[in-house]
């Protein structure tokens, strides 16, 4: 890479963008004009934001006691809420009251009014519509204050506690606001009623309070400000960093292609990687500039608007938000570099694929949709920085930033390394993607083909490749994911083990096996090869089984680590418990193994290491196809914890499949791995104690949950790693000839023969 060329390209692109009115408008003019305009609009709108009075229909006013008086001169007594009294207009008409009271009484007698009957709902709704009222208050019977001097009197009975009904229509805001006002008034009035009654009967009022609770806020002024800003600023920085990368990325790639200047640059001595990095630096500069300018403009506007609004509300010195602390700005600027790099690289790589600016926008909008949840997670009140969240790209960085702004340096330093590592890895991968896009002819010179389903189908049938293509592998993966997603909603809770087993196997067949086999038959000329159905040598088969056994402690520890870092939610735990209960009714261990080991091993391997991996192998190299297949394999397991665990297992399975060119060793590995997981979960003290090997291998703190011992586990893992190396070195060594005839090749050839005959 020649850095003078990168610098030259960067300077040119920067100048070019600065001369582009659209980019300048988005990056500079908009933030500088938009926020002041918004501030002006807010101040203008604020003067119209007055509260409107609520119209309340009061039925049964005569039942209210004279003291303390709730209604005085046709208005709410200001003693129970001055503002509420001003904002409430009472309609104390006798019209319809008798009918209303009759219905309510009838309903009360029948159902005790635990829920308002439909008849009452309809009546109130009709009255609200006809008489333009917002809510109704109904006092069904005279309210008499309890008379403790006469303990036997019926008024002291709990069943005769006076009642007041407040009918509101929660679908209408005005009605809801009115109900809130009335409830506040009634709460104060009830308090007064109780106090007056207790005073009258000489009961000490302190009895009412029980315990005196005092709330004290020890946060200092700066801390409060930091806490308020720490939730807003990182989000603003991120969102504008992404938005700022959008238009320059589109213009620098798709725009150049559209204007025909891209080929001019490609024929110059600058290498593709230099062009990519030069453009990336430009997009990054604009992304950061957009973010900073927005932040500044928003900060200044916000400061003035808050002061004006605060003054308008009678608060000296404005609203209690204030200017963000200076240190927070420093942290934001520091975090902006990796974030802008990440967003710019992803935006540029996506834009490189587009042929025109319009098409570029189509690709970048989904990018925004994907990024938004990552930015929203840290805004949740419960979200906090821990090891788990620190490993989530963007979210982890935002949480770290939040912590730094709040001044929790000790906590932040603990997780700074994983946060930085994850985000830097993402940056590096994104930059590599950009360079790859710029080196790809199919990306740079993609012809504008009109897509028609008919033409595409004819092409697929006419030009079927021997093995699956990248597109068909992705399609198969997506079909499996979508099918599994929808099937998850359809399945009913299992009633018995047989029901559970039938349901599990049917779902595996319908959502995983059928799509893979159908696609292999329709989209490829050599379905057997596409599904990697071929025999393998005995050493390969044995090595796969041994690898599953010896790597089991490492996988088990990794599972434990994942569960520790990302503890499963309540639903998952409940589901696991339900499955465990059902498994107790299994006819035997063989049945459990059939459902959890045999069926998934065969079905998932045919689909993932068979069809999908074969398709991804059209990409160069060994590890990229393995990585992508494992990613899909992990996602197909649905739950995030399982996704992470199966992703790692999938990497091993992918390696075995590519190195042995057969799914038989993969099936054996998968089968052994799943069987060991089932057996370990079912291991109990009686079994372990009677086996000298298991007694040395496993230990348990509670006599129920057995785990691998540290020393035997590490020793086993070392052997497992040696087996991985053996599989990797299969490339260098000549691959042993497959067995002449195995049950597997026999079945495969019969299946293939049956297909040819048909």
């Amino acid at each position: 890479m020649k850095w003078p060329n990168v610098k030259l390209i960067f300077r040119r692109e920067l100048r070019d963008q600065l001369r582009d009115r659209r980019t300048l408008f988005t990056v500079a003019i908009m933030p500088m004009v938009l926020y002041p305009l918004m501030g002006m609009a807010m101040l203008q709108v604020a003067q119209f934001m007055r509260e409107y009075p609520s119209k309340v229909w009061v039925v049964g006013q005569e039942n209210l006691p004279n003291s303390p008086a709730l209604i005085v001169d046709g208005r709410i007594n200001p003693e129970f809420g001055h503002a509420e009294s001003q904002l409430t207009e009472l309609l104390v008409s006798k019209e319809n009251d008798s009918q209303f009271q009759a219905i309510i009484r009838q309903c009360r007698e029948n159902s005790g009014m635990t829920r308002t009957p439909i008849l009452v709902d309809q009546l109130i709704q009709k009255e609200m519509q006809d008489r333009k009222i917002d809510l109704a208050v109904f006092i069904p019977s005279p309210i008499r204050l309890p008379n403790t001097s006469d303990p036997g009197s019926p008024e002291t009975s709990a069943a005769l506690i006076p009642e007041i009904y407040v009918f509101q229509n929660s679908a209408i805001d005005k009605s809801r606001i009115g109900a809130d006002r009335i409830n506040r008034v009634l709460a104060k009035w009830t308090g007064t009623v109780i106090r007056e009654t207790l005073t009258e009967h000489e009961v000490p009022l302190e009895l009412l309070q029980g315990v005196q609770i005092t709330n004290a806020d020890v946060a200092d002024k700066v801390g409060k400000r930091a806490a308020a800003w720490s939730k807003i600023l990182p989000f603003i920085v991120m969102i504008w960093s992404l938005t700022g990368a959008f238009y320059p990325a589109i213009d620098l790639c798709a725009g150049e292609k559209e204007r025909g200047t891209f080929e001019t640059l490609l024929s110059s001595p600058a290498a593709r990687s230099e062009i990519a990095i030069g453009k990336l630096l430009t997009v990054m500069t604009f992304s950061m500039a957009t973010s900073i300018l927005n932040l500044l403009s928003m900060g200044f506007t916000g400061m003035f608007v808050m002061t004006r609004l605060g003054t308008g509300m009678g608060l000296t010195g404005g609203l209690p938000v204030g200017v963000p602390p200076l240190s927070s700005i420093g942290w934001l600027l520091l975090a902006l570099i990796p974030i802008s790099a990440l967003f710019s690289a992803v935006a540029l790589a996506a834009a490189a694929f587009a042929r025109s600016s319009k098409e570029g926008q189509y690709y970048l909008v989904p990018l925004m949709m994907i990024s938004m949840p990552l930015m929203m997670i840290p805004m949740l009140p419960a979200a906090q920085l821990d090891f788990g969240t620190s490993l989530i790209p963007v979210s982890g960085l935002m949480l770290l930033l939040r912590g730094l702004i709040e001044g929790n340096y000790t906590e932040c330093m603990k997780y700074a390394t994983p946060v930085c590592a994850v985000n830097l890895i993402c940056c590096w991968l994104s930059v590599r993607w950009v360079v790859h896009q710029f080196n790809s002819e199919t990306v740079l010179f993609r012809a504008s083909e009109r897509f028609g389903v008919g033409a595409w189908f004819r092409h697929v049938m006419r030009e079927r490749d021997a093995l699956p293509t990248l597109g068909s592998a992705v399609l198969c993966g997506l079909v499996i994911l979508v099918a599994k997603f929808f099937v998850g909603f359809v399945v009913s809770p299992p009633r018995s083990f047989n029901h559970f087993a039938f349901q599990t196997v049917t779902i595996l067949v319908a959502t995983i096996l059928v799509p893979a086999i159908m696609m292999a038959l329709i989209l490829t000329r050599k379905p057997r090869q596409s599904l990697r159905i071929r025999g393998c040598s005995l050493p390969m088969a044995c090595a796969a089984i041994l690898a599953a056994i010896f790597l089991n402690p490492a996988f088990t520890w990794f599972t434990g680590l994942v569960m520790l870092v990302y503890p499963p939610g309540g639903d998952i735990v409940q589901l696991e418990q339900a499955v465990s209960r059902i498994l107790t009714s299994a006819p035997g261990l063989w049945a459990v193994l059939m459902v959890f080991a045999v069926a998934p091993a065969i079905i998932e391997e045919i689909a993932f290491r068979g069809f999908i991996l074969s398709g991804f192998q059209s990409i160069r190299g060994k590890w990229q196809p393995i990585l992508l297949t494992s990613l899909l394999f992990g996602l197909a397991h649905g739950v995030i914890q399982q996704t992470m665990i199966t992703f790692v297992v999938g990497m091993m399975l992918g390696l075995i499949a590519i190195q042995t060119k057969s799914i038989l060793p993969c099936i054996l590995f998968h089968l052994t791995h799943n069987s060991l997981a089932v057996l370990l979960s079912k291991a109990d003290a009686s079994v372990v104690e009677h086996s000298p090997i298991l007694a040395r291998l496993l230990y348990s703190n509670d006599g129920q949950n057995f785990q691998y011992g540290i020393v035997p586990g590490i020793l086993m893992s070392v052997v497992g790693v040696m087996l991985i190396v053996w599989f990797i070195r299969l490339d260098a060594n000549p691959i042993p000839q497959p067995l002449k005839r195995t049950w597997f090749t026999e079945v495969a050839s019969r299946l293939s023969g049956a297909k040819n005959n048909s």
Partner: protein
């Protein structure tokens, strides 16, 4: 100077499956020579020239430019060529001066050498009036001038012109052709693709007539006229392309007939 051997290029295409843009072309072009690639639209001229300029990679075959292989040393090849095409537009938001200077710097020329050279070239091509004009404000002719100057600023031994006069008015086209002739006279090796017969007849020392990714005939204009007994180049071109198209259609219908026969045989 340029040696092309059995060069092929194929793409995957949804509509037609595998599309072969170049089906094994071979030719040689020497210094001080204008080599013409003549063919209708879709003949494969642009693909061949894009491979020579290292913008595309060949599927098979080899191409040497001034001794450097386009696949093995694309960076060195790019330093040997100047590429002007209908697709190589100029930047809208750069002036003529900035544009030429930018490419000169990309070719590794220091500013102290570049600026005097640019002054001389701008004088020679009478471009001083447009030196501070933005690309978006230039006429098509001006843009093409800038494009040519941009391609020759580093004084490359090979210049590639891909339909460089397409869409230009007669005055500008003549000026471009005059420039090409001057460059030939300076000893440059020039590849010139066009589908305008008069230009080819006037300029080219050797010609390759292309259709559907193949070279149908190759030689000097006189050699071709003698070999095919046709003095009018346009007529010669028309006849060769027509025969080639007829052969292509006949092959296609034969293949379709064979396919349909074998399908009905299988059904029976």
């Amino acid at each position: 100077m340029i040696h092309v051997r059995q060069l092929t290029k194929s793409y995957k295409d949804i509509q037609s499956g595998q599309f072969t843009a170049l089906a094994g072309i071979s030719f040689d072009a020497m210094p001080g020579q204008i080599y013409g690639l003549l063919g209708p639209n879709g003949a494969g001229k642009t693909t061949a020239l894009r491979i020579l300029s290292t913008v595309l990679k060949p599927s098979t075959g080899s191409a040497l430019v001034n001794g450097f292989d386009v696949t093995e040393h694309p960076d060195k090849v790019r330093r040997q060529i100047g590429f002007v095409s209908t697709n190589t537009a100029i930047y809208d938001r750069m002036t003529a001066w900035e544009m030429v200077q930018y490419f000169g710097q990309l070719y590794g020329m220091p500013l102290e050498k570049l600026d005097p050279k640019m002054e001389a070239i701008f004088d020679r091509f009478q471009m001083n009036e447009i030196r501070n004009v933005l690309g978006s404000k230039m006429s098509t002719g001006m843009k093409q001038k800038v494009s040519i100057v941009r391609a020759m600023i580093h004084d490359p031994p090979v210049l590639i012109f891909d339909e460089a006069t397409s869409g230009l008015d007669i005055l500008v086209a003549r000026e471009v052709l005059k420039t090409v002739e001057q460059l030939r006279d300076q000893g440059k090796c020039i590849i010139f693709s066009s589908h305008i017969m008069s230009e080819v007849q006037r300029l080219c020392d050797r010609v390759a007539i292309m259709n559907r990714g193949r070279i149908l005939a190759e030689g000097t204009i006189d050699e071709l006229a003698e070999k095919y007994d046709e003095d009018d180049v346009e007529e010669l071109f028309y006849q060769m392309i027509s025969v080639s198209e007829m052969k292509y259609e006949s092959c296609r219908s034969s293949i379709a007939a064979i396919k349909s026969n074998s399908a009905s045989a299988v059904q029976r």
